[in-house]
Every structure is written in C-alpha cells, then in structure tokens.
C-alpha cells in the first residue's frame, strides 16, 4: 500500500457530464464506542473484547459472502462508526485483507478511518495505520471547548484533541476534522473560535455539521425538558455564513452543504452518496445501494451475530425504490453538492428529462431565489444552502 498520495488522484467531476457509476464505495460499520455521545442515536455498544472478536469474524463472513454481488472496482473504503479507531491494527489489517481477497480494488483507493481523538495519542498509532494502507483519517474533534465536549458527551478532552491534531499536522496525512455547530446556547463566535484554531493545523478537509437533535437521545430529552438554552436558528445561520467566508479565504473549496476541502481533497467516499453511485455497507445497521434497491442490515449486534457461522447471510431488509422515490433521493442528495446536479446525468440515469419531471417545482424554487441554473447545472443559491430542506421537500 502506498503512503499518503501526493498526486491528485481524483478526476475533476465538474467537467464530466455523466457520472461514472461503474465503481464501488465500501463502508464498514464498527458498532462499538467507549461511551455513548449525548446526541447520537446511531447504533453502538461498549467494546467488550469477546464481542469484538465475534463481530470481526462475522464481518469477515459477511464480506466473503456478499463479495460476488459487488464486483465493480472499489475506489473507496470507509471505516465508520461507532468508533472504528478502537479496533487494533491487527483487526483492521484482517478486515482489509478480507476485502483485498474478495473485492476488486481500483488503483490507489481512498481508505478512511474515523478516529476518536482519544485513540490517537502517539505517533506509533498513526504509523501503524499508515502501514496498513489507511490513507485518510477523519478526526471527530467536534469542538475545542471543554464545556461543549461535555455537553455533547464526548469521551475525549480538548487537550487530547489538540494532541491528535498535532500528530496529524506533522505527518502530512490526508485528514478531515469534524466540527459540530449550533449547540444549545452557542453563539456564532464560539463556533468560529473552534474553526480558527482548527485551521492552524491545516487539515485537508473540514466537515461542519450543525447539531441534529435526534428524538430520544439524552441531549434531545434535556432540550425537551427545557434544561438547556435554545438553539438559535439565527446564530446557526450567522455561524454558517462566517464559516463559509473564513474557509474560502483560506483556500478551502466549499463543495457540499457541510463540507470543505483543499483542492484535490474532497472525500471520495462521501461523494458516492451525493453523486448517487453504488455503495455497499457491512456490519450492523450498514446500508447498501445498488442504484435500484436499498439494503439495510439490522441494527442490533445480537441479531447480526446470531446465525454465525451457520448462515453466512446477516439479517437485513431490502426496499426496492419506485421511480418517484429514486428521483427524490437523487435530487436531494445531488443538490447537497454546490455544483448541483447535471441535467445530462439525470437524463442518462432516469431516461427522462428533469424538465419533464419537475419543471414546475424548479421554476417555483428559482422564483423564491433558492435554486439557480447555469448551462446544464442546477444548484442551490446561497439562500438555498440555508433553506435546503424547503428545496428538498419540493421534490418529495
């Protein structure tokens, strides 16, 4: 495996009218966490060594069993979670080996590991990951203020976050930093302060997500009970605008609603979702999409492990999308990209022109100043970026 790729591997998609869907993005869900974050409703469990071992065996079975169905060249591999960085290098190596043995890898695939800052506290750890071929790190910093980390229920501290950032900055690794904004009571300036400090480490990629209150999570419950200050839509909007300006000044390209990258460092894996390309997910709760159907593995680890090794197929649900749902998903994923969607790609995918399907909706949204057009591209305006849900809903 190569070290950090210095060359631009990624073709510039904006020049390509029709998206190449003859490639595959591969996702591995690692459902373990040191502790549960207060805002997270995604499936995870404490990492008991015995359960982790059973999980790894089951994951290998699943990878082998489903391999024959997914023989497009794999251009990205993504370890997400949960907290994949709590897996040992040996475990990660084993998974990657099973993938190499059962899937067709494209040259220089992007291999991302989501990392909890607490798990990256020495150079050795980073060297090990690099050794395994992991060429991209996504670091879940979320905030550089201790009160905010506490509110979010993160297991790491600010000093751990700084330490891990320092290792990454020194290593010239291709890495992303996740930040969460729009916390209860947070002012735009608080978020900006996080951002300014992060920029000193010069990550190749920054994701700025605003906090989503998922019903049933401890944070949402505390909000509901009125124990926390409100989340201000005004501050969220102001913070977002300032983030955009700040990052633009520093040469980051704003390429998706919440994502910014230095030239050549867009996240190849996540682009698969936005560009409506096929992807396959392994592990509990992982999702797959073959351009017609969506598959979702059952979330519970117990169910995931239940039939091993007797039945190599893991429990899952498949839903076949009708054309209407497929179009809606194509559009609301595609519009997340700042370059927008391309009429030619829509036509080639659906065998129908965008105008035939949605001319009224598009005209209305242009009228409202939420969409704009240029050539074959239709994209969200600055206002549309802020009110994207309104745009998305027009196509449901």
């Amino acid at each position: 495996m190569s070290k950090f790729p210095r060359k631009l591997l990624w073709p510039c998609w904006s020049a390509v009218a029709v998206i190449d869907r003859n490639q595959l993005a591969l996702y591995l869900h690692v459902p373990f966490c040191w502790q549960k974050c207060s805002y997270c409703d995604f499936y995870s469990r404490p990492a008991e060594p015995k359960i982790v071992r059973l999980y790894l065996n089951r994951l290998a079975e699943e990878l082998k069993f489903r391999g024959p169905d997914w023989q497009k060249p794999v251009t990205s591999i993504y370890f997400g979670g949960g907290t994949p960085s709590l897996l040992s290098p040996a475990a990660l190596d084993k998974i990657l080996q099973v993938i190499r043995d059962n899937y067709r890898l494209a040259p220089n695939p992007e291999i991302t590991l989501e990392v909890n800052p607490g798990d990256l506290q020495s150079q050795t750890v980073l060297d090990n990951w690099q050794e395994l071929g992991i060429n991209r790190i996504s670091l879940g910093v979320q905030s550089l203020q201790q009160v905010e980390l506490k509110l979010l229920g993160r297991s790491h501290s600010v000093s751990q976050a700084r330490r891990s950032l320092a290792f990454l900055a020194k290593s010239e690794y291709n890495y992303n930093v996740d930040l969460i904004s729009a916390l209860p009571g947070q002012q735009a300036e608080d978020h900006l302060q996080n951002l300014v400090e992060i920029l000193q480490y010069r990550p190749r990629h920054i994701s700025c997500y605003n906090l989503q209150l998922e019903p049933g999570t401890p944070l949402a419950e505390r909000m509901k009970q009125g124990l926390l200050p409100e989340i201000s839509e005004e501050e969220d909007a102001r913070g977002y605008q300032q983030t955009r300006q700040q990052l633009k000044k520093q040469n980051y390209q704003h390429y998706e609603i919440s994502n910014f990258a230095l030239p050549g460092f867009k996240c190849r894996h996540n682009l698969a979702y936005w560009e409506f390309r096929p992807y396959v997910g392994f592990g509990p709760a992982a999702c797959s999409f073959n351009l017609r159907e969506r598959r979702k593995n059952q979330a519970s680890l117990r169910d995931y492990l239940a039939d091993s090794p007797r039945n190599p197929e893991v429990p899952h649900e498949i839903s076949r999308l009708d054309q209407q749902d497929l179009k809606a998903e194509y559009l609301f994923m595609g519009f997340r990209l700042l370059q927008g969607i391309d009429r030619r790609d829509f036509r080639s995918f659906f065998q129908q022109s965008l105008a035939d399907c949605y001319s009224r909706e598009i005209a209305g949204l242009k009228e409202e100043g939420l969409l704009a057009e240029s050539g074959d591209k239709i994209y969200l305006t600055g206002r549309g970026l802020l009110l994207a849900n309104h745009v998305f809903q027009a196509f449901l």
Partner: protein, 595 residues
Amino acid sequence: MSTGKIRNFCIIAHIDHGKSTLADRILEITHTIEDRKMQEQVLDNMDLERERGITIKAQAVSIDYKGYRLNLIDTPGHVDFSYEVSRSLAACEGALLVIDAAQGIEAQTVANIYLALEHDLEIILVINKIDLPAADIPRVKEQLLERGIDPDEALLASAKEGTGVEEVLDAVIDRIPAPKAQRDGPLKALVFDSLYNSYQGVIAHIRVMTGSLSRGEEILLMASGKKYEVDEVGIFTPDMQPVSCLEAGEVGYLMAGIKNVRNCKVGDTITKISSRAAEPLPGYQDVKPMVFSGLYPTDNSDYEILQEALEKLQLNDAAFTFENETSAALGFGFRCGFLGLLHMEIVQERLEREFDLELIITAPSVVYRVTTTEGDTREIDNPAAFPEVNEIETITEPYVEAILDLPEDYIGSVMELCEKSRGNFQDMTYLDQDRVRLKYEMPMSEIITDFFNQLKSKSRGYATLDYEPLGYRKSDLVKLDILVNKERVDALSVIVHRDRAEEIGRDLINRLKDIIPRKMFTVPLQAAIGSNVVARENIKARKKDVLQKCYGGDVSRKRKLLEKQKEGKKRLKQVGDVEIPQEAFMAVLERGGSD
C-alpha cells in the same frame, strides 16, 4: 317483584373518591357479573370514560341480593352534566355518598349531599379507601359533624379490597325505603337516560313511577309529543334482559323503534295513549347548549364525512347541536353547541377517534345578546358574526355564580384570579377550620377560557369549581380581531372586555408568534379592534433549515425525515400563505397563562 322488595339507589361521590370501584365490587360480590367477565369499572363502558376515570352517561344495573332487587343507577360526575345527574337522582329513593377516607369532604361531596337532600333521598355515607395509609377516619367524621351530619351511621369500606361492601348492601336494604309506587294508576315513567345504537335504535333507561308498562302497548312521550309502540321492555343484568312488564317502582329499559334521542330526551315522561297521565313528572328541562365553537375539517375534502359524523353523534347526544357555518379563513364547517368544556372535549375526541377525523376546533364562545342601533336584539354565538362596532348599541353576556371551595392558604391567589376574570366578590364562608367557600359573580365567558386550569395551578389542585347560571348582564365588550400576514383570520376573533382588550391582544399575539410556524418570509401578526391596531409582532422568517449528516449512506431514512417534516406542514390549516396549527385557535383560551 313486589314493590317492598325493590331498592333504587345511586352512588354519588367527588371525582376519584372511588365511586366506580365500589360499583364494580358490588357487582362482583352479588355475582351479577361473572368474575371472568369482570372488567375494571364495568359501568363506565365507553373507552373515553374508562380512560378519564369519569362517567359521562348514566348507566343502570339490576342486582338480585338476598331476595331483593337492588337497582343501581350510576350518575355522571361533572358540572356539565348536572341536569342528567338530577334526573338520575329523581329515579332513586336513596344514595350512597362515597367519601375518600384520605381526602375527606370535598366541594362535590357537599354539593352532592344537598343535591340528594333536594331529591328527598335517604343518604348512606360510605367512608371509602380505609386501606390507604393516609386514611384519617376521625377527621372525616369531624368534618361531617361540622356540617351537621351525624357521622355515627357512616359505613367504613375499602372498595378496592372488598371490605365493608356487604355491610353497604345490607344498609341499602335496611335503610333505603322501598319505592312508594302506585301500580294501578296511569303510567308515568321517567326517562333518566337515553342511548342510541344503530342496531336497536334508542334505548330509554326508565324508572316507572306509577302504573306499569308492557310490550306492545302504545306510548306517548309527554315532552316531545311523540307516539310509539313498545317493542321491548327489560332490565339490565347488566346485559339487557327482556321482561314481560315493568311495574311501578322498577327500573329498566324500553325500546320502541325510536330513531333519535331528541324524541326521547332525558327527563321526559312516558305515559300510555290508552290511559294518559294528567300531567308529566316534574323537573323536565330542555337542556340548551351553553358553549359554542366552530368545528372544521383540517382537510376541506373531509367536510361531508364530518357532517355524517356529527349527525351520527347527535343521534346519541340530545344536548349537542350543530349547524352549518362558513369561515373566510377555515372554509366550510359547523357551529356546534355544547353543555360545557368537558362536553366539547368529549365530542371532539369521539370525532377524532371514532371517525378518524383531523379537526380544527375554534375557541369556545358563549351566546352574547347584541342590541343593534336599529333596535333589534340578536343572539350571537360566534365572535366572527359580531356586527360592526358602530352598529352595536349594547351587548349583554351570560353571568354565572361561581362557587369555589379551597384551602384558606390559597385565598389570596384565587381571589386575584377571580378579579382578573372580571369576577364580583359576593361572599366568603368557612366550611371548616381550613377550607373556605368563595362566591363570585362572573361572566360565563371567563369560566370557559382556561379559568379552571389556572384555578387548579394557583391552588395546587386543591380548589374546586361549580357554577350556576345567573342570566344576562350588560358588559362593555369589544371584538378583538387577529390579522395574520395582514389578513383577518375570522376564526381567531375573540370577544373581550374593552379594558383588557389591549393587554389580551398583546399577550395573544406574543403566543401566536411562537405557535405559528416560521415561513420563508416575515409574517406580520396584528391584533385590532375594528381598524385600530392594538398590538403587533412579526413572525421572523426562517433563517436556516438543513437536514444534516447521513450516517453511512442511510438515504431512505433521510427521505423519511424530510417527508415527515413536509407532512407536518400539511396537517396545519392553510390560511392564505400561512399554515396555522390547531393550537393557535385554542391560544385565545390561555389568557395571560404563565404569570
């Protein structure tokens, strides 16, 4: 059964003092209901009743015990239904008055004693829930003594555990007089409840006062003037069991192909056409709705379904009225009349539950009497229908005497609430060492805002409220209009006292600002009297609305979230460019809520 072996009685109690549990236990001990069929609180057989723990419709059951026929008549337990209660009591010779051993005497207990005495009923006191750790029997007895009631005859029971229930039954036989009933006179039977179902038509619950009634006889309902031939008479065991004849003193049911409860209202007297009674039984009233509100389908295409549902409901509820109404903001709907707020809530809930309808219900209104400058007087039950300011000479509104019983600690805050609700203080008396009765004359319209809720919160739930109509009085009232995005929303108009119009307008606008969802544009909100704007606010435009991260490519989940958000908007009523949720129409009720 000979008259001497019959006992007709009811159970009356303050809410939650254990009336229904006692009834259940009586049915169980007398084997009236097999254990396996025993459903908690058998007599409250509407789902709604069971959920709310209250009795809405009266029920009756005949119990055979030690050679006697005990007819138990369950009564509704809310001021909205006080007329129905009075008719149920008129069908009895005695009453079990249940008092919670831990709570002691409450406002309703006292009211019930007077009510029972008014009907000449023999009262058997039952101190219930003696199993509770907080039970304080000496205190309850002392309270009784303070009210001049001999506590020595009170029975002790725990209906929950079944203790003392047999003694209660024995007392019913020993102490409640047998009905004084002439069996040979002309028939007079009191209708104390009237129910409708689509299979059997109206089932009248009756108490035969004089004479007798058999199948095949021709009857006349003296108040409605309708004539029928009797298809069936019977008793409740508690299932309906036909008998050949109901005689004076007996309680049972009658079916005669009656298609609408309006033709057989509670309180009506049944007699025979062949030997007609000279005069009806006393006490019949044509119950009139006191509270009116607009009912609109959220989805306009449900209008006809709503109409059918209202018609069906009316078959079974003589007190409920409706007529067509059109609102500029809400479209086609109905003006509905109710006995009170509980009655209104019950109707609304039944419509939503039994007919699966999404409804917008406007804030309730009383009936105002408006005399115009032309000199004619109109009854107006809808603020939207008020004449223009310059056409109004005088307005009168219904007043009630509000009777509030509360621990003395809360006198200050409750009096303040009453003053704020335009109450005129009349009287204050001590019921016992620490309980006080306040009397206020108040506009009925104040009572039907959230007065009751505020009373509960200001007294930590300890105050009770009862009220009696006092007739109409002149008031300086004005119509307060609400404009959303510069359009007057007629369904949000409200009638208020001139002195408080501005304050109420400001408060209302302030709350509507948070209730009406933000739009992509700024929406002005105004409160106005005629053309004079008294308060204004803006609903800020949405600034940011973006669904975030899609973990691991779960796109369908994201689509569902977006669909849900979109669906949420559809359930609101579209008024112009703005969607108004149900809550907004009720916001006018919560006057000055949080102070």
